[in-house]
């Protein structure tokens, strides 16, 4: 990866390049590339920090170190060479990259360029932002495919021959619907079409038909006999052995898709393809300890062992404690099972040392990408025996977070007719057998090889690092949460209302009878209810590997939770569907309406812990969530006092859904122009039992109290704040954008599972006025719980208005009696008006803080943030 020194040296390149080009008069071949070339050095430094932003400080240090070493080395060589060759002779290499649509992309690179330079250029050429799923391969002398290490120089990774590469999918997302952009899905589709045609992804006739028909729809559009003719289909490839019968069936289906857009067709394609058992499985030939020919398949969930076509074993990542290789042997150390006492090590024989190393690298990368929150740092030891190789890209979690920030109109996808699938296979469409050994040639081989050949055992030890990892993760997690600005709703705390006798768990808050005060401002969390569903099925216990076997040796709780959820989503329809909608909505950039539902099964114990631990104790919470059978628990309770301290609500939750949500939120927020021009309007927060969805369009009246809830305190704050991207370090409270906060004290009885709903209405564009309004609602579950019950009897209601320079606060207090318990609900609407000069975040934070101070004993159950922004051309912020 780039460093200062790297950047320096690159900075010189353009000049050199130009000269060289002149000299060589290569203009013709280089034409396309040359255009891109000069730009790159400038782009580079800019892009890199962004990419690196995800990594932890420790990680950066290491990179630094590594780079320093490298640059040191190279400078020496430069010195020694320079007298002979002179500076001007910087070599330019022509690179030819086979793209997924079968076309070639040619560009010139400086010979010492590192892998990421090439990769970034390709992605730029492809207009691809979600690039973490992709990689570059090149074939080695044995015609094995090796992944180019982005951090290493290309020339070291290509021993001989021309600089030919291929652009491929490296990590197949288990749920392609979660990709943010259509264009990413388009490239994934292309890769899968190649996988299918080449036989790497085996499927039945019926599946060939279905996949083929969506591919045709995506590539050619609606069936149109006049334009397409009757034989159009035989020009396309769908299967390794394409028959007339298959083509007819494909055509039959194709006719039924009239009106389906290419992007939709691709989603259908992927939804089908992802279910195939070999989807995303990278196969490697090996022999087991008895010499029986087997295949090792590396995929997102772990390592699969096949004998012939049969799956004979499977090791989910959490089951694997250690991955290592030595000469041509590959070992995995397995965590002892439920009924075993000792860990066991299983060895496999690979055809040769390089194959073993390739497999090892693929495993390291897949594990890191799919299971970790952030990449592991490289081993620090200077003289260590093992390979220093670690996956250095973003993990899936990071990638998702980053792509949720993508802020551009969906790019036009040029779906070129895929040459590759017409007629013959491209070079890349390697025969199955070959592909089964996906080579991972190590670029580092040169240095490392010596050591290796001595038979040193190279290992990646995951377990041992656990402690560190966890710590790091924990550190990470709060950051993320903060960054993402997710509101958390403590369920427990909500429960304490003054009016009611504290429940057993109630910790600190004193309840004074009949005093209506909002105790704490809690911000709500968003999550999926998935887990709850599962957990509640009584009488049955689940097999899911992830549930039963995952102990998190490898991964941090957060990630794990994420994974779990993701997995579940695939299974459980509704939450997934909801999420999909959300994604789609976001990607469509239409008025976005997001409904997320979350159910928590919190146990009192958790609540207590939270209380005891103090607000910020994520670890404790996380631990609980993980440990319990309810991995589904998504709500994390946080004591509000802490949050108050920060002035803004902090989101502590670590669950993935929350995270995901958080990123959505931030994404949405991001999309808006930061300037606040108009007065912000109030979002109506009428919770509805069940799922609460609210599309509040700026309602200007003071917020209403919804009947279903018993007395509550609500606080609505409107603001236009903006929140910087999430990749930076510790969260700054002020960055959160909370627009409206509604506090609600829930009756003590509602201790049961609660769901949180968040509704976002994002980014509306009003063409004429050029304003954007956005509303985010954070709501605690109590609402629902109470919602469908008896609304209670209204005791009193009052409205108070106060103003400061930039904010107007309207407070609406209602008291109701319901089932013998009286509830007070305060709803505050805070309007913050101003232009950019005002720090809205600050104002908002202040408003919230004040509200909290005023009602120290109530909890915040709902926060609705509504932003209205006028877009002016000059606005520089995004």
């Amino acid at each position: 990866m780039t460093t200062e020194s790297g950047a320096d040296s690159e900075a010189k390149q353009p000049r050199e390049n130009k000269e060289t080009e002149k000299e060589k008069g290569k203009a013709k071949a280089a034409a396309a590339a040359a255009a891109a070339e000069p730009a790159s050095p400038q782009n580079q430094p800019e892009q890199f920090p962004a990419a690196a932003g995800h990594s932890t400080p420790a990680r950066k240090e290491q990179e630094q170190q590594e780079v320093d070493q490298v640059s040191h080395r190279s400078s020496i060589s430069r010195l020694s060479r320079s007298p002979l060759k002179g500076v001007k002779k910087t070599k330019i290499m022509e690179c030819k990259v086979a793209l997924l649509d079968g076309s070639d992309f040619t560009l010139n690179l400086e010979k010492r360029a590192r892998g990421h330079v090439l990769f970034d250029k390709i992605c730029e050429h492809l207009n691809l932002l979600e690039k973490d799923y992709f990689g570059i391969t090149c074939r080695d002398v044995e015609n094995q495919k090796n992944w180019i290490d982005p951090g290493k120089e290309l020339k070291k990774q290509i021993r001989t021959g021309p600089w030919n590469f291929a652009f491929n999918v490296k990590f197949y997302p288990p749920d392609p619907a979660q990709l943010t952009e259509d264009i990413t899905r388009y490239y994934l589709c292309l890769q899968l079409r190649d996988d299918v045609v080449s036989g790497r992804l085996p499927c039945s006739f019926a599946t060939h038909t279905v996949l083929g028909s969506y591919a045709v729809q995506s590539e050619l559009g609606d069936y149109d006999p006049e334009e397409l003719g009757s034989d159009y289909i035989s020009e396309l490839r769908f299967a390794p052995n394409q028959t007339k019968e298959l083509e007819e069936k494909v055509m039959e289906l194709h006719k039924t898709y009239k009106g389906m857009t290419p992007a939709e067709a691709e989603i259908h394609f992927l939804e089908n393809a992802k279910k195939l058992s070999m989807y995303g499985v990278d196969l490697h030939h090996a022999k087991d300890s008895e010499g029986v020919e087997i295949m090792l398949g590396v995929c997102s969930s772990g390592l699969l062992i096949y004998r012939d076509r049969l799956r004979i074993n499977r090791f989910a990542w959490p089951k694997i404690l250690k991955i290592s290789y030595k000469r041509n042997n590959f070992y995995i150390k397995i965590r002892p099972g439920e009924f075993e006492q000792f860990e066991s090590t299983i060895g496999f024989k690979l055809p040769n040392h390089r194959a073993a190393k390739r497999l090892w690298k693929v495993c390291v990368e897949h594990h890191t990408f799919f299971r970790l929150v952030s990449p592991e740092s490289q081993p620090k030891k200077f003289l260590s025996l093992g390979s220093k190789f670690r996956y250095s890209g973003r993990t899936q979690a990071q990638s998702r977070r980053a792509s949720s920030m993508i802020n551009r109109l969906a790019p036009l996808v040029e779906r070129s007719s895929s040459k590759r699938y017409n007629m013959s296979l491209s070079l890349d469409g390697a025969p199955i057998a070959e592909n089964h050994e996906t080579p991972m040639k190590d670029s580092a081989a040169a240095g490392a090889a010596k050591i290796l050949t001595k038979g040193d055992l190279i290992t990646t030890v995951t377990t041992e690092k656990k402690a560190e990892e966890e710590k790091a993760e924990q550190e990470d997690a709060p950051t993320d949460a903060a960054e993402t600005q997710e509101p958390t709703t403590p369920l427990r705390h909500d429960t304490k209302t003054k009016d009611e006798p504290p429940a057993s768990e109630e910790t600190k808050e004193e309840v004074e009878p009949k005093t209506t005060k909002a105790a704490e401002y809690l911000v709500k969390y968003v999550g999926d209810s998935v887990a709850t569903d599962l957990a509640s099925s009584s009488g049955l216990h689940g097999i899911s590997p992830s549930t039963t076997m995952d102990d998190d040796v490898f991964m941090d709780g957060t990630l794990r939770e994420v994974d779990e959820v993701a997995e579940r989503e695939e299974i459980k329809v509704s939450p997934g569907a909801v999420r999909q909608e959300v994604y789609q909505a976001i990607s469509d950039k239409k008025g976005t309406l997001i409904i997320l539902k979350e159910a928590d099964d919190k146990v009192d114990a958790e609540g207590k812990e939270t209380g005891a631990a103090g607000e910020e104790e994520e670890p404790a919470l996380r631990g609980e969530a993980e440990g319990g059978e309810n991995e589904a628990v998504m709500g994390v309770e946080i004591w509000s006092p802490k949050m108050e301290a920060n002035g803004v609500t902090q989101i502590k939750g670590t669950d993935s859904p929350k995270k995901a949500m958080a990123s959505w939120i931030s994404e949405v927020v991001k999309t808006e122009a930061t300037e606040v021009v108009g007065a912000s309007t109030k979002a109506s927060d009428a919770p509805q039992p069940g799922e609460e969805v609210q599309t509040e369009q700026s309602k200007s009246g003071p917020s209403q109290i919804t009947p279903p809830e018993s007395s509550t305190t609500s606080l609505a704050v409107s603001t236009l704040g903006w929140v910087p991207s999430s990749e930076k370090g510790p969260p700054e409270p002020e960055e959160k954008v909370v627009v409206a906060t509604e506090t609600e004290a829930a009756p003590a009885e509602s201790t049961g599972p609660t769901g949180c709903d968040v509704v976002e209405v994002g980014t509306k564009e009003v063409p004429v006025v050029h304003t954007e309004t956005k509303t985010i609602t954070y709501e605690s579950a109590e609402v629902e719980t109470n919602g469908d019950v008896d609304p209670g009897v209204l005791l009193s209601a009052q409205t108070i208005t106060s103003e400061t320079t930039s904010t107007t606060t309207t407070t609406h207090i209602t008291k109701t009696v319901k089932g013998g318990i009286s509830e007070t609900r305060i709803e505050k609407r805070i309007v913050i008006t101003g232009d950019t000069d005002i720090d809205h975040d600050q104002a908002l934070a202040q408003a919230i803080k004040e509200a909290k101070e005023q009602h120290p004993d109530m909890s915040v159950t709902k926060v609705v943030v509504h932003k209205e922004t006028e877009i002016t051309p000059e606005e520089g912020e995004d």
Partner: protein, 286 residues
Amino acid sequence: MANMCPYGRFTHAVVRGVPETFGKAAGDDCEKGETSVDLAKAQRQFGCLTGALRQKVGLQLIEIPADPELPESWRIEDVAVIQGDTALITRPFKQQRRGEVEAVRKVVSELNLTVVEMGDSGGATLEGCDVLFTGREFFVGISSHTNHRGAEVLADTFKDFAVSTVPVCGGARLRNICSMGGPQTIIISNSEGAKKTLRMMEQLTDHHYEVLTVPEDLAANCIYIKGPSKLDFLLHRPAEECPESVSAFQKLQDYTLLPTACSEASKLGGSLSSLCLLVNRKLTYF
């Protein structure tokens, strides 16, 4: 996937009558040798099962006439594995049973299924009662009657799905110790052997299943169907045959439970699912 709808949607059932030679061939099986079976009762029970499938569940029933020459032909499950639009005609372990496939082959091709023959490739043998299809993947029990090669042929036939092999302990057959009880529910017996098999299944799967354990081996073989009426039906052994397990089935919410006796077939190692092949001719694409 065209083929990947949740488990349980069926439109047709193929059955084969109980011949008067019922139980005669059991002599080959030394373990079953002495059991005396009641032919009339077996036929009555068969009638009850088919009646339930047709009238309660609402499937179209195709009954192949009994053939006295083929005493075990009522175990129709063994001779074909049907998933989606494909039927794999198997190669049963016992030579004398191989004749059973002909009539079945004819019926499935009349149902417009794509017929794949296992044939004699590499000594492959496989019987349907060693195959558990969950809607998302196959588990094949490697047993006395089903070998690795047979499982491979199955994997080649149903390429969309993972095909995992699992050990079956104690001479049992996979379907004798487990069956599907819903789109993501596996009903499995509580015996030690079954637990071992279950652990292996848990290890091998990528998916999540609920597991319903029943105390009696016999009870673990059920037939789950989401009929044309979209209701969940579960045919299971009645309280007289499995007194301790019936309560377990009550846990399945909103199911229509159909207790179906199967004591005679059971004596010969068969069970409810042995008696029918389920087919879905209404494949939905999405």
